[in-house]
């Protein structure tokens, strides 16, 4: 197909559009031909690459393209919403094309999936700010004090044995008793603390993953 044939077919397929639009569109394709020709392609090659003119013309009316338009408006509405909530920081770049879309019920409906995610994120943030932080502090300080108990029992037990050297005869058995008891109790509480700490770490990881999942994917 030659350039003339291509443009003629294209224009006739677009005939239901306003004339200025048809002229605009034809100019784009004329330019495409000119650039292609200047790069050494033939009119037939360029026509073939462009695709069937009737099909291309159909794309200007295509529902698919309308959908693309909706996606655009949707995103524009997102942006408008985000910008208005953050407008204190920076003035929003408002273009005439978008100002009409934000109040449109269709675009409000379209952004609701994003709102669900916003709700989920708010939930995660509030959960952590209001509840999790003090639960975490309580758990961590409890664990810390348990470990302190174990360590002091151990230190006390070892201390009793070292005190043996300086102790007069009658006190030896008491020190041995204290030393043995201290070390045994330190071992027992140490094992208990080890498992408590391990479970805390496992639980925390699961909690963090759960938070991430809700934050990124919603409920």
């Amino acid at each position: 197909m030659t350039r003339e044939e291509y443009l003629a077919t294209l224009k006739s397929a677009l005939h239901s559009l306003p004339e200025t639009d048809i002229a605009d569109i034809a100019r784009d394709f004329e330019e495409h031909f000119s650039v292609g020709l200047s790069q050494g392609k033939t009119e037939h090659e360029i026509s073939a690459e462009l695709g069937d003119p009737a099909t291309v013309a159909g794309t200007y009316f295509d529902e698919g393209l309308d959908d693309i338009g909706h996606t655009m408006k949707e995103s524009a509405a997102h942006y408008a919403a985000a910008a208005s909530s953050a407008s204190a920081n920076r003035p929003a770049a408002v273009t005439p094309g978008t100002s009409g879309t934000s109040g449109n019920p269709e675009s409000v409906k379209a952004i609701s999936p994003q709102k669900d995610l916003a709700g989920a994120r708010l939930f995660v943030i509030l959960l952590n700010v209001l509840i999790t932080w003090w639960v975490a502090i309580t758990v961590i300080s409890t664990l810390f004090s348990f470990w302190c108990v174990s360590v002091s029992l151990l230190v006390g037990g070892i201390g009793s044995f070292t005190a043996l050297a300086a102790a007069p005869g009658d006190w030896i058995s008491i020190f041995v008793l204290f030393g043995m008891a201290g070390i045994l109790l330190a071992a027992a509480t140490g094992i208990l603390n080890f498992f408590l700490s391990k479970w805390t770490v496992i639980g925390s990881k699961a909690y963090i993953n759960w938070n991430k999942k809700i934050y990124n994917e919603g409920f």
Partner: protein, 105 residues
């Protein structure tokens, strides 16, 4: 490649290609058609739609070879939209990959 797949992402592709530098129609059409196998003519309706929605503006610039070319430039709105579409696409494609069983990461 499935036509329905391409339709939804062409606008995102075009916006992404304009992120680094302004380009003219032929350039955009050529690159896109090479990468995702669409016919060159498909790009112009998309560019027109993007211009109508205020995502891009156009200006004419002389070229060393051939006639002046119509360049497409992202607007502020276009840039913001690109960012939000990019996010949506990444989230969406990740979810689809999880279901389809591709590379989930």
């Amino acid at each position: 490649m499935n036509v329905q797949f391409k339709k939804g992402v062409l606008d995102l592709c075009v916006l992404s290609m304009l992120k680094e530098s302004d380009q003219y129609g032929y350039e955009l059409a050529n690159t896109l058609s090479e990468i995702i196998q669409i016919s060159d003519g498909t790009v112009y309706p998309i560019l027109r739609k993007l211009a109508t929605d205020g995502m891009v503006t156009t200006y004419l610039q002389e070229s060393q070879s051939g006639p002046p070319r119509k360049y497409y430039k992202l607007t502020g709105l276009g840039k913001k939209t690109l960012i939000s579409l990019q996010q949506e696409w990444l989230t969406f494609s990740r979810s689809v990959n999880q279901i389809v069983g591709g590379d989930a990461q």
